[in-house]
Structure formats: C-alpha cells, structure tokens
C-alpha cells in the first residue's frame, strides 16, 4: 500500500456532520433523558401520558438549535444587549407555545381551560406547566451548551476543554438516565409506592430486573458515537492547523474501526453474566469446597489404589487366616455432592455466579491497578502503609505461586522439539515469561532486570537501537536521566558482567541490581510524565 498524493482534508466536507448529524444525536439523547423522566412520573401516575411534556421538550430543544443557528448567521452573538433582547423574546414565545401545547393536549377541556386562564392568569401556571417550563429551560440550556462546545471544537485552543466538557455532560447525563431508569424499573416491577422506594433500593436481596431499557441503550450508543466523532473532529482540526497531510481514507477507516470496536465490545458485554444467584462469599465458598472435594477424592483414590494390592495380597496369602467377612476397600465416593445436583440448574447458577464475580474482580483489579499506576504519588503514599504492603506482597506471592503452578503444569505437557530458544536468546519478550522468578540465580536476575528495563524504556521513548551495545546505549540513557546516571552505569556494567563473564554473583549483587532497576524505572516514569505535561501545556 502506498500513498502517492495526500490531499489536505477539507473540513467543509463535514458540514453535514455539524449541520445535521450532531444536532440529531443531541436531540435524540436529550429526548431519551426526557423519556426516562416521563417514565418515572408515569410509574407514580399511570394516568398521565407525558406526551405533552415530551412535545414541549422537543420544541425547546429544536428552538435552542434553531435560535443558535440564526444568531450565528446574523453575526450578532457578540452583542450582549441584542442577545438579551433576543433570548427574552425567544422565551416569551416559547412560554406561549408550551402553554398552547399543554392546552391542545386536552382538547375536550380546551374551552374551560381558556376561560380559566382568561379569568385567573395565575391559574395558567399549574404543576405540569411549571415542570414543562423547568425541564424545557434545562433542555434549552443543555442544548445551547452542547452546541457551544461543538463550536469550540473548531478553536484549537479550546478544543481540549470542549471535548472534556462534552464527555462530562455525556457521563453526567448517563448517570442521571441510569438513576431515573433504575428508580422507574423498581417502581414498575414491584409496584411500589413512594414510601417504600427507599427501603427497596437498599434491599439488595431483591430479585434482579431483566430486559433491555431501550432509551438508555439508545442514549449510550449515540453518546459513544458522538464521542468518537468529536474526537475525530478535534484531531482533524488540530492536524489542519499544523498543516499535516491526512490520508484520504482515514475518515472512512475511523468510522469502520469505531463501528467494529463498539460492536465487538457491545457483543462481549451482552455475553457476560449480569446476575448471580450466589453471593461473592457463597460462590467462593462453593468453588473452594469443590476444589477441596476433588483433592480429597484424589487422596482417597490414591489410598485406595495403594491399599488395594496389599490387601488383595494379604487376602491371597492369609486367605484362610483372614476372616471371610474382612471387607475389601471400597472406591472413594464421587467428589460431587449428589444432593447439590438434585436441581438441574445448580451448575448453571454456580457457573453464572462464579463467572459474574470473576469478571467483576478482574475489572475492579484492573481499574484499581491502572488508577494507581496513573497516580504514582498515591502509590507512594499507600506504600507507606504496612497493610497495603502486606496486601501487595500477598498478591505478588499469589501470582508467583500461580506462575509456578502453571510452569509445573506446563512441564508435564508432552515435550515437542522446540528450536526457537536457540534463535531467541536475545529476545527480550521471551524472558518475560519467567520474569523475576525468585528461584532464578543472581546472574539470571541481573539479566532479567536489565532486559526488563530495556523493554520498559521502549514505552518511555528511550528505545535502544538494535545495533547498540549496552555501553553504546548507556550514554544515551545517562543523558536522558542524569539523576540516575550512577545507577544506569552500575546496572549496565552488572549486565555486561553477568552476560559475558564467568564470574559468580551473590544475591546482594542481584538485590543491588534490583534497586538500580527500580530507581531508573521510576525516574523514567517521572521524566515521561513531566514531558507529557510540558507537551500538554
């Protein structure tokens, strides 16, 4: 594949995106949010249709879009006086239109309502209308702010902030729609009254609610599409400002990759278990009990197999002496509890519960780990707490144990003629498999530390050229991280000695190499963070 001519992207081509696609997405998302509000109110009062409110919301959202477009086309959006007058008139008209919608929604009572409004104007502002006004104003403000953020994307200095605000609004709206929909579902499923909602929310033993909530799904799908589109726009504007040529097929590939990425992950998310019949401890308990039962079964089976020939021999030799009633050993019972299998769905439920908690644990572990990696200062603070260190040690021991078990299991697999290690003696990635196995000799540990450092530094833009020897690479590192110059030199020297000499190494030397490796690593991380911050500034 080769690009011969790259043409500069004309963002004008995306006019339809800013004119139609984005407003349509925003309107739909706001309406999704409104729909969830209407559903909540209808859960309390099923007689209320909520169509009036929805129509009012749609009107205010459309008006917000339309008025902004008019203002921009008239070039008056800088004139404060003009703006104030414009919005006052706009809202006057909107109030009248909203009231008209409300009146038209009850055609049978139209005359009576009109008479009432005429006689007592204060009566026009009833609860429903107040709600329409409040929510309408909110929808109007959100739409205006979102559109303003879209406009700010065009400004390279503001685009980062605009993108941040858009994502924050999306997440805020997402949390809100979930909360409202959650409450609505509780009310709809259990037909609760207001007094018991609070009690039901915190009753975690209630059954799960199944099914898809359509407006929530639409909100999040559209939100993700919008995020991807906004990110692309931001980047395109930045590249255009920097006069960087953009490959013509980038946009189409972006759409393709976004679609594939979101679809695959959505499919994956829908496939994962979403509920559990057993709690975390119960699931863990069942799993542990099952493992213990299997171990017990294996032990008993072994005992049976050992004693069976002995007893059979004794029976043959001393058959006459032995009482004919002497029982032969019986095979151990199955490790699976037959009572537990009485219900056919037992295994499915157990698997579902274990799967659920496993996925949860993995996600939580990854999130916490990533968060701590992103906040080294917090990590340092936590490291000063003994309990945290203890936990960290337990986790690392567990990982080590698992690795050893894995390695032990792997050694039992049938051996194949494998020549690859002969050719991969210097490949850093091959050493990652047995990384920091504490059973390694001090020489191996030193080699591991240096190779791991090389691998880590690739992420920190200090990549070693393939033709560089350790001593050729050393000055580059020392120049990049002068504060750990001594450590760089010491670790390089230790690696060269460990790699090429026949000298013996003590555990102290390995420990010292570890310290040097840690210091260089943290320095590289610090340098990287500083550089990125400077770049961002």
């Amino acid at each position: 594949m080769q690009y011969n001519i790259m043409k500069l992207i004309q963002l004008d081509r995306q006019q339809w995106v800013s004119q139609w696609l984005r407003p349509l997405i925003v309107i739909t998302m706001i309406m999704c949010l409104n729909l969830s509000l209407v559903s909540l109110v209808r859960a309390f009062n099923p007689a209320w249709s909520g169509n009036t409110l929805l129509a009012g919301m749609l009107l205010t959202t459309l008006e917000a879009l339309y008025s902004r477009r008019i203002l921009i086309s008239q070039h008056h959006h800088q004139d404060l006086f003009y703006l104030a007058r414009y919005h006052l008139v706009e809202w006057g008209m909107l109030i009248m239109a909203l009231k008209l919608i409300q009146l038209l929604s009850y055609p049978t009572q139209l005359l009576r309502e009109l008479q009432l409004v005429w006689q007592e104007p204060a009566e026009a502002i009833n609860f429903e209308f107040s709600m329409m006004l409040t929510l309408g104003l909110l929808a109007w403000v959100i739409t205006r702010q979102t559109l303003s953020n879209f406009d700010n994307l065009q400004d390279p200095n503001e685009s980062g902030l605009a993108m941040e605000e858009l994502s924050q609004n999306f997440f805020l709206g997402g949390a809100l729609i979930l909360l409202i929909s959650g409450l609505t579902q509780l009310l709809l499923v259990w037909q609760l009254n207001y007094a018991t909602i609070q009690a039901q929310i915190f009753n975690l033993k209630r059954p799960h609610v199944e099914g898809i909530i359509l407006n929530v799904l639409v909100y999040f799908i559209l939100g993700l599409v919008l995020l991807s589109q906004v990110n692309l726009t931001r980047l395109l504007i930045r590249w255009q400002r920097q006069e960087i040529e953009v490959a013509p097929q980038l946009i189409s590939q972006w759409i393709k990759y976004s679609f594939a990425f979101l679809s695959v992950l959505a499919l994956f998310a829908f496939m994962l278990p979403t509920n559990y019949t057993l709690g975390f401890l119960a699931s863990a308990g069942r799993v542990i009990a099952f493992i213990l039962a299997i171990i017990n079964f294996i032990l008993e089976l072994l005992l049976f197999l050992i004693t069976l020939p002995i007893l059979w021999l004794l029976h043959q030799l001393l058959g006459t002496a032995l009482n004919a009633d002497t029982p032969m050993p019986t095979p151990p019972p199955s490790p699976i509890d037959s009572t537990a299998m009485q219900t056919p769905s037992f295994w499915l439920e157990l698997l579902q519960s274990v799967g659920f908690w496993l996925v949860m644990l993995i996600i939580i572990f990854y999130l916490v780990k990533t968060y701590l990696n992103d906040h080294p200062e917090l990590m340092q603070l936590l490291k000063s707490i003994r309990l945290f260190n203890l936990l960290q040690n337990i986790i690392s021991r567990l990982r080590q144990l698992l690795r050893q078990v894995w390695g032990y299991g792997a050694s039992w697999r049938p051996k194949k003629l494998n020549l690859s290690p002969l050719f991969q003696a210097h490949d850093v990635s091959t050493h990652k498999r047995n990384w920091l196995g504490h059973g390694d000799s001090p020489r191996d540990q030193i080699l591991h530390y240096y190779r791991d450092l090389l691998q880590q530094l690739e992420h920190f833009s200090y990549r070693r050229r393939q033709d560089h020897t350790p001593y050729e690479y050393e000055p580059q590192l020392r120049q990049a991280m002068p504060e750990v110059e001594t450590e760089v030199h010491a670790l390089t020297a230790a690696f060269v000695q460990a790699r090429y000499s026949q000298a013996d190494f003590t555990p102290d030397q390995a420990a010292s190499a570890k310290q040097q490796w840690q210091r260089i690593r943290s320095s590289a991380e610090h340098e990287e963070v500083t550089t990125n911050e400077e770049k961002n500034e």
Partner: protein, 398 residues
C-alpha cells in the same frame, strides 16, 4: 480523576444498587471500552516496526528519495498515527515531513518523500516523532520516536583543467641526487655493516651466506606527496566581510584540488583542517595523512562535507607547524585561507626553507585589494600564492 474512570465507578455503584441486569451490561461495555482502549493504545508502538531507507551519501544537486516503511505486526489496526519527520532546512522546505495515516492489522505502509541536496553538509534525517491514540480520546496521546539517520552531501567539485602546483607529476616518489630520504622500496645494493646502521636494514640472507653483516642500500628519493591545510576560522574570513560564502568557496577549492590530485594526477594527498564537527559536536582537528586512491578521496570529501567553520579563533599557523613535522620531506603543502597574514607568511617561509614546497591559495569572493597585497607579499618571499574569488577561477588554477 479521569471522568471516564469516575463514570465507570458510578456505573458499578448504580448497577450494584439497582441490580438491573442491563445496567451491568452497560457497566461491562464501558469497563471493556476503557480497558481495551488502553491496552490497544499501549500495544500500538509495541507492534509497530519502522525502517527508513535512504542513500547515505549524495553529491550536490542530487535528489534523494527517503522511504519510510511502517509495519504493524499486531492484529489490531492503528486508528490514527501521526508521523512527523524533522528534516534539515538545507535539504527540505518546509523542514519536516508530516503525515497522518491509519493502518490495518498485520499491514505494511510505505511513505516516500524527496530531499534536495542543496548544500554540502552532514545532516541528520529525523528523528521521526510518532503520535497515536485511541478512538474515543480516553487515553492521553502516546508518543514515541524513531532514531535519526545521517546523510552526507559532498561539497561541490569544480573540474580543474590546469593546475600550476609543483606536484604536477604522475609519479608520487621521484629519485633524486639530493639525498632527501631513502625509499625502502628501491633497493640498489648491499654494503658492509657500519656502526650506527639501523638493524632494520640488515640483509639477513647475505649476512648468513657470508658470515659478516651486510646492510641494504636504498635509492635516495624525493617525496611528491601533497597536503592541503584548510583554514576554517570564521574570524579570519570575517575580516573581509561575509565569511560564509568565502568559507564555502574555500571548501569547494579544497574538494576540487583533492579530486584533481587524487583522480587526475594520482598523487597522494592529505588534508588537515580544524573545524566544528557536527558528528562529535565539538571542535576537531582532522588530519588525514597523504594517501592515494578513490577511497581516500571519499574520506577527504566526507570530512569536507561535514566540517563546519570555527566560531572562535585558533592558531592556524601553529597547527600547520605541528602537523608539518610529521609530513614527508619535500611534501607540497597547499594552504587554503582567506589572506596571507604576516604570521602565515612567516610560517610558509619556514616550511619552504625546511624543504617543503609551499603554495598559498587566498580565497576571497568579495574583497580583492587585500588578497592582491597578500599575493605580492608572498611573491616577494618566493612563495607561490594563487587567488580564488569565484568557482570559475578553480578551472585554471595557477
């Protein structure tokens, strides 16, 4: 806290409180977006392999094609990759090559751009800065860089039609009646050993055959070696106005002379100059001892391509004196400088009296009077001084 991360936590809490299956699905979706985006972005540079291909040496006026090959060894595609190659202004305008591309999984992409060798020099092509990120802008953009390659653009070479230097002979070493030195390659006979003879000249075969010590006798010879001493001191050239064109002309003169002497006349030639070396990024004394052959010419041209002027004065004449001590007797010394100062003339006279054939070449494209004065002063001392004011002058030098 990252808003996306905070949102995932909020999702988890909401899903756990309401225990609505669909909320857990939404939580999974966002958690997997967060995790996969991060892992994907991190893997991009691990799986990306880069190579840059270009001719490492070029002559002035050449067009150099640089090919950058990017290979994505990973299964996942690269949604966007910004490439920014830093280029020297002397070779490319604008001084960068920028491109934003997108790559599929397990794919290779070839990008090409052209450089124009407009000025001699030692150039770094690159480094190539890379930037990438995820589709949703969740992870801070990742950067990496690919090391620079080097390109040497040789200086301009003007073909010399006529050269009036004493080395105008195809034979590098001529026999002479004046015993200047003995050429060990020209054995003319043997004589009996006398105290003081170097043991290295003992003819062991004859000694063994006769039982007495015999030493070899060599033909006396005169060296026809040449050495160019190039002055790159900015201050010396600055006295006459614009130093840059003068220094460039001096380098062109040295390159043209080297080309003529080594390829046309097939005589050994050396080069001595003190200048700033961009390779080591410090002041450097280049001392290439006289040798013949095309390979040696390329070495000389490489030095002339990359050497830069010196900003701070150094003792050029002192360098000449020191280096000349190690030159063969009778070597032709060609000193290329802006003008002949009194100190330089003294040094030239001293060298001439010491048995070297000295020629001064005054390079000055702007001023003429002072150069002419220098020529007269050199002529008064019996030293040949040639003038070069423009490249055309090089065609008939002497």
């Amino acid at each position: 806290m990252n808003p996306f991360f905070a949102f995932i936590l909020a999702l988890f809490v909401i899903a756990a409180i309401f225990q609505i299956d669909f909320f857990f699905t939404i939580f999974y979706l966002f958690a997997s977006i967060y995790i996969v985006s991060r892992l994907w972005a991190q893997r991009i540079f691990q799986n990306l392999h880069l190579s840059r291909t270009l001719t490492p040496r070029a002559f002035l006026g050449d067009e150099i094609t640089v090919t950058v090959t990017l290979s994505n060894h990973g299964l996942l595609p690269i949604p966007w990759l910004s490439i920014n190659e830093t280029l020297p202004l002397a070779l490319s305008s604008p001084p960068f090559y920028r491109q934003v591309i997108s790559m599929g999984g397990q794919s290779t992409l070839t990008l090409q751009y052209q450089l124009q060798a407009r000025e001699r020099g030692y150039y770094k092509i690159g480094p190539l800065h890379l930037e990438t990120g995820d589709l949703l802008g969740l992870k801070r953009q990742l950067t990496s860089q690919f090391a620079a390659d080097t390109l040497i653009v040789y200086p301009q070479i003007v073909p010399i039609v006529q050269l009036g230097l004493p080395t105008h002979s195809p034979n590098p070493v001529l026999s002479t009646t004046v015993p200047l030195f003995h050429d060990p390659s020209r054995l003319i006979g043997l004589r009996q050993y006398q105290p003081g003879d170097t043991p290295r000249h003992i003819h062991w075969a004859a000694t063994a055959a006769t039982g007495t010590l015999w030493v070899k006798q060599f033909q006396p010879a005169i060296s026809r070696e040449n050495a160019i001493f190039l002055n790159l001191d900015r201050e010396d050239y600055a006295e006459r106005g614009y130093p840059e064109p003068a220094i460039e002309l001096a380098i062109t003169t040295a390159a043209s002379l080297a080309n003529h002497t080594l390829t046309v006349e097939n005589l050994p030639l050396g080069l001595v100059t003190v200048g700033f070396d961009p390779l080591s990024e410090q002041q450097q004394t280049f001392n290439l001892t006289p040798h013949s052959g095309r390979g040696h010419l390329m070495q000389i041209l490489e030095v002339l391509a990359r050497v830069q002027r010196l900003e701070h004065g150094h003792h050029f004449t002192e360098t000449i004196r020191q280096i000349a001590l190690h030159l063969s007797w009778g070597t032709t010394i060609i000193i290329i400088t802006s003008h002949a100062s009194n100190t330089l003339l003294e040094t030239a006279l001293l060298l001439q009296r010491s048995g070297f054939a000295v020629t001064l070449i005054g390079v000055n494209p702007i001023e003429r009077r002072n150069t002419t004065q220098s020529t007269h002063a050199a002529a008064a001392l019996g030293i040949t001084m040639l003038e070069v004011r423009r490249e055309h002058d090089l065609e008939r030098l002497g």
